[in-house]
Subunit: 271 residues, 3 copies
């Protein structure tokens, strides 16, 4: 099977809007008013309110699965309507649209040739731009244009200093210790650490059980490929489907069992 | 960029069905069984169960963002299967389909030339019409037909007395006092009042801080254009993206801070 | 109105992934990377984690509403990456794709001629198959191929012994008593029993009020066609929109009022 000759443009949505209000639908209405053939895919609208780092993490993991040319519209935007800049980021064949607050840091990290544009020349919709709903009135019109072929530079000027979040890669401390941070806890209670597979984990080589110091005490974690390799209830360590180190529990919630939350630190116990 | 020459028909869905059950999918399956080219957009399925006024408020705000010709299927329908009438409302270029219980009051208010039709001539699906699932068996078939070009009058007869909710516009009491009602509290805790911008708010003219009497005491609210103009935690007053007066708090929840819930009343303090 | 000449392929999604993480979007990205013209419909992603029986129940009820040829991708998969088999089930003109753990039992029950295939020959995506995300890397590619015309047997070999759940039909005990199980409680608190209309319910014939023994005591239930036929708060008994017996309460929650939960048993009181 080959991809269709003419691909319909795809726009994904990642927000902290929730799904109880009319906000997501209003963004979709704005998109479809501009380009009726768009394919719109929700990533999530349940980013915790104003949590830019959480939004960035989810978007990073989702974006990897979409075909080249996809436009990712992401709005976690406590500074809406203030001086914070509206951006488009062109990175590794994808286009990201949203506020300049660090949401797209990963896309800058992933592609050194990424280009960033401040969206100052997006034509306003007939009813104007609400200072509290740039997602509908500024980002959606920009995303619709970009998805249907407009060049980012037709919508604004280059920016060289976008806001960046701290890199989501576990640092090695001066004392040589690796400090891994809990980057995400998923619906199943799986605990995702900020250690990408590419960074290596020599302390896991050749061991069937690794010991991690979670706040308080060392915990033995069986090194596996999938949850079901361990008995129910036993914590395991594996590389997850996005290439990050993850602590899981077969038929259980690792986050609850180990008392781990986003932002906690975990270290390998020296052998 | 111009709109596509041939627009795919759009149907939006607003219900109190939640997203845990099969109900929403069944409605979509019914729609797609009738017309495979439909574009279906969820507004929300999290209207509180049986809360017609809440559904009407969300739909009103969402519908404004969609292009002309959109069909809005809305079902908050405690009276399903009883004598309450099934309606189509054609208002300002949009079509609304759902039960006759006030869901579409705003569409009648917004367009004095709105037409209302009782859907008595919608062909039943092969398996018949379940008395407890008109959304799937009656409203979806009607919406699919209307979205693909059928005239409302081909599906039933005109109605002159649809059920109407009280108008969602803050009334001025006989004593000259404006009583604004909390119409909605959004995901961020923003408190939306039933005062449309078009109704005017002379008491806000020329002041940088307005005082509102919330239940209990007067509260000073800085008049702003966007949340971030005020320091974190300070309540502000602004015209929201749908043109209603809103109380917000930058990086906080106004509803929690001020103890306001849907149905509460708020008054401007006389100067 | 006749169905479109050329129907776009439909894929529905039923999972326990929730909507907070990137998992659902990653599956959709994988699908759209394979076939950009697919129509994707969410059934639900809120199946309780690892609850295969709950997933099977929702999928069964949803699938009935979709047109022939629809592919239903369903993943409630605690055994992901272990020896459990990946399946496609072709039943009554529909195709089901997911793990071999009983999710598709109903489809085997509904069509004695159903065919089951173990998906051993699905080409892997360029980045390989993650042992913890078969939904993205194995089931989605298989579903996209099946939706766009591939034959199931091109993707694997027939299987004669798929895992089956106990049939979801209330059994008659040796003593002649009918034991109905609560199969589902919906968002409104309606209590759905595992008694299909086709199985008959002679004990309801000719009575306006039936008595059911819920745990503890007999309860009189008015036999109705729709909720609103009874006064608010009074429990009723009706055949629901999927053809199962249901206990409801007009403007109330039957599950709370009667204290019934999934798995509880209910019997008709002998007359």
């Amino acid at each position: 099977m080959t991809p269709s000759a003419r691909r319909r443009p795809i726009i994904t949505l990642t927000t902290d809007f929730g799904t109880r209000d009319h906000y997501v639908a209003a963004v979709k209405g704005a998109l479809l008013s501009m380009a009726s053939d768009l394919r719109i895919v929700d990533v999530t609208h349940e980013i915790p309110a104003h949590d830019v780092a959480a939004g960035s993490w989810i978007l990073r993991n989702a974006a990897a699965a979409f075909p080249p040319g996809t436009v990712h519209l992401a709005v976690v935007d406590p500074g809406v309507g203030t001086q914070r800049r509206p951006l488009a980021v062109v990175s590794a064949g994808r286009i990201f649209v949203g506020p300049d607050n660090g949401l797209f840091s990963f896309a800058l990290d992933e592609d050194p040739a990424a280009r960033v544009v401040c969206l100052t020349r997006v034509p306003a919709p007939p009813a104007g731009i609400s200072a509290v709903f740039h997602a509908r009135d500024l980002f959606a019109p920009a995303a619709a244009r970009l998805a249907t072929g407009a060049d980012a530079l037709s919508l604004g000027d280059p920016v060289s200093d976008p806001v960046r979040l701290p890199a989501a890669v576990a640092p090695v401390a001066p004392n040589g210790r690796l400090r891994m941070r809990v980057a995400h806890v998923d619906r199943f209670g799986n605990v995702v650490l900020d250690l990408p597979r590419a960074a290596g984990a020599a302390w896991m080589d050749g061991v069937s059980t690794a010991r991690l110091i979670v706040p308080g005490a060392p915990v033995p974690l069986r090194c596996v490929s999938t949850y079901g390799e361990a008995p129910a209830g036993a914590p395991v360590l594996l590389w997850n489907s996005s290439g990050f180190l993850e602590i899981g529990v077969y038929l259980g919630r690792a986050s609850d069992i180990l008392g781990l939350r986003v932002g906690d630190f975990v270290e390998p116990q020296s052998r």
